[in-house]
């Protein structure tokens, strides 16, 4: 029992509600939302360290003992993601201050961002399956509002698709919950895990697990990613960066929880299917990333590749691979947000999103150019940067378990990532500048600083691997040994 665990959800919700009353005071909205997110960052660092000393902590709402009430459970995995979420959200907010435009700020942009962060954090922290559904919906409703905010034609069209897909996947989620409840009679995740272990994961439970796989596959963009590039490329840059950094990662998180805590008894069926889906996602994402000449599409397809790559780690499911996936997940949240911000800045500077129509940007905007270059290297997994640890650990896991096809696909996809981004770099940043020094639009500091901060975070994650690894190792240990989680929740 520790009430501090509820703060990462409650602070954004309360701040969001409060901000509704300050609609016309944009300065108050800005600073209050940033303060709320930064305080969540501080609190999550505090809780993360507390977990290292005291083990997994939980909060039973209304003091209903598990498995009866709903509860929040904080382990290292959740808190690492909560911390990264709030970092990314804070940096995207800074970018939004300078780019989102007064009209959107007045239409409750900040409250929606805060509520979305609350939903994301709630999904990470909850220990109850139905509560996970509710937090998903909180996050999704805020994201529906954010994707349509501004109401341009393209946004409205893509949002109909986005909302319809998500309503459908939420329906599957409800159906899966209903079947699971009918089969084992509980929704508390630790209790579920225990009961499924007792029943030995019968074929019926395996089918239900595949239903969950379908749900989270739709949410995370694993194989079922057809909706993703469109809906991630229409909203304004700051929103797209939040989506690219956070939303798919919640689906990935849920998948990790499901298939390491609940449905880990039949890996030859479930994990093989995850492996196949991850492999096809890698192939499809790679083709998409090199097929388009629109930067925002290329960047969106890079999100798809990363989803496939992280889930290779889950499919392989050795301790090393799980650790690698967690490391890569944290890295990817930071780096994808940076990539979306840089791509959006480039589009705003040149007035086009086609890579053929821009050239020589690095001459006038060196910091932007070098940030992009470093982010590109990090994504490709060049050693000192943040992508390297994740890649090497997932690769090691794949070799240990003999999944050479997945290993080959993930390595080849890294080359495609590098190629697709290098193409942007060579076409847009390199070469003759099309504009002279005087003509080029000045780049606002508010655009550069968030990009530079995220780049610095990526570098820090790479060089500071030694400091972060205890947390990641602890998170991986909890995931690979479900009894740590069950004992902490059910107090055996």
């Amino acid at each position: 029992m520790n009430n501090i665990l509820v703060l990462p959800v409650v602070i954004p919700v309360l701040a969001g509600i409060l901000l509704v009353f300050f609609r016309s005071h944009i300065q108050i909205q800005r600073w209050l939302s940033l303060a709320a997110i930064l305080s969540v960052t501080g609190i999550s660092i505090y809780i993360l360290n507390m977990i290292q000393n005291a083990g997994i902590i939980r909060l039973d709402f209304g003091n209903w003992q598990p498995p009866f009430g709903i509860l929040f459970v904080g382990d290292s995995f959740s808190l690492l993601l909560v911390l990264t979420t709030s970092l990314v959200a804070a940096i995207c907010l800074i970018y939004a201050f300078y780019s989102i435009g007064e009209q959107r700020e007045r239409m409750f942009f900040y409250p929606f961002v805060l509520l979305m962060v609350a939903g994301v954090n709630g999904s990470f922290l909850t220990g109850d399956l139905f509560n996970l559904y509710v937090c998903f919906e909180v996050m999704l409703l805020a994201s529906y509002a954010l994707i349509t905010l501004g109401g341009t034609k393209a946004q409205l069209k893509e949002s109909i698709k986005y909302v319809a897909i998500n309503v459908l996947s939420s329906w599957f989620f409800l159906v899966a919950i209903a079947y699971l409840y009918g089969t084992v009679g509980t929704l508390n995740m630790a209790h579920l895990s225990e009961r499924i272990a007792e029943a030995g994961q019968t074929p019926l439970l395996t089918v239900i697990s595949i239903l969950f796989l379908l749900v989270f596959g739709l949410k995370a963009g694993l194989l079922l990613y057809f909706w993703l590039p469109g809906s991630y490329s229409v909203p304004p840059t700051a929103v797209a960066a939040l989506f690219g950094g956070l939303l798919t990662k919640v689906g990935i998180y849920a998948m990790f929880r499901m298939f390491t805590l609940l449905f880990y008894h039949e890996p030859s069926i479930t994990h093989t299917i995850i492996g196949i889906m991850a492999g096809i996602t890698l192939i499809g994402g790679s083709f998409g990333a090199i097929a388009y000449r629109d930067i925002r599409q290329i960047v969106s397809f890079n999100v798809v590749i990363a989803v496939g790559f992280i889930l290779v780690g889950l499919a392989v499911a050795t301790p090393a691979a799980i650790e690698g996936s967690i490391y890569y997940l944290v890295h990817d949240m930071l780096v994808k947000a940076a990539l979306f911000l840089i791509a959006g800045s480039m589009a705003a500077l040149t007035g086009t999103t086609m890579i053929d129509r821009m050239s020589g940007l690095i001459r006038h905007y060196p910091i932007l150019g070098w940030s992009f270059f470093i982010i590109m290297l990090a994504l490709a997994g060049i050693p000192p940067l943040s992508g390297f640890m994740g890649k090497i650990l997932i690769g090691q896991g794949a070799i240990e378990s003999g999944s050479y096809i997945l290993l080959a696909l993930s390595l080849i996809s890294s080359i495609f990532v590098l190629y697709s981004l290098l193409r942007i770099f060579l076409n847009c940043f390199w070469g003759e500048s099309t504009t002279s020094e005087e003509d080029s639009a000045p780049l606002s500091k508010g655009w550069i600083i968030p990009c530079a901060l995220l780049t610095a975070a990526s570098i820090a994650l790479g060089f500071g691997a030694e400091y972060i690894s205890p947390y990641i190792a602890d998170a991986a240990a909890t995931l690979t040994n479900p009894y740590i989680y069950i004992d902490a929740v059910l107090n055996k």
Binding site: F130, L141, Y144, K157, V167, L174, V175, A178, Y181, G182
Partner: protein
């Protein structure tokens, strides 16, 4: 009784699928509403239909109906209500912008 409700759920799902696959935005929205109600019926049936008294400790009853499915459905109804309201507003805005509620027309118009 369970069989009857499950058949009803199946009918609702097929109606919703039919609506969902049409080209008209309003029909799709109605489809999502029907779809969620099918899910609610499913949850209720999976929790077991009325098998005992109300879930309040008393002296006469010894068996109780499971209260959890009802709590889940209540939450889910609220969420589905919010999403449907949002979708209706979205459809209205889409109609304002493009003067059409046919998805085929919208697709050809917006991809230019």
């Amino acid at each position: 009784m369970e069989t009857l409700i499950i058949i009803l759920t199946g009918v609702l799902v097929s109606v919703a699928t039919y609506l969902f696959l049409s080209r008209n935005v309003i029909r799709i929205i109605l489809g999502t509403a029907v779809l969620t109600h099918a899910a609610h019926l499913l949850i209720m049936t999976m929790g077991g239909l009325k098998t005992g008294g109300v879930p309040v400790l008393g002296e006469e009853t010894t068996t109780f109906t499971d209260a959890l499915p009802q709590a889940l459905i209540l939450t889910s109804i609220v969420i589905s209500f919010a999403v449907t309201a949002f979708l209706l507003v979205l459809a209205y805005r889409l109609y304002q912008e493009s003067r059409s509620d046919n998805l085929n027309v919208l697709r050809s118009m917006l991809n230019e």
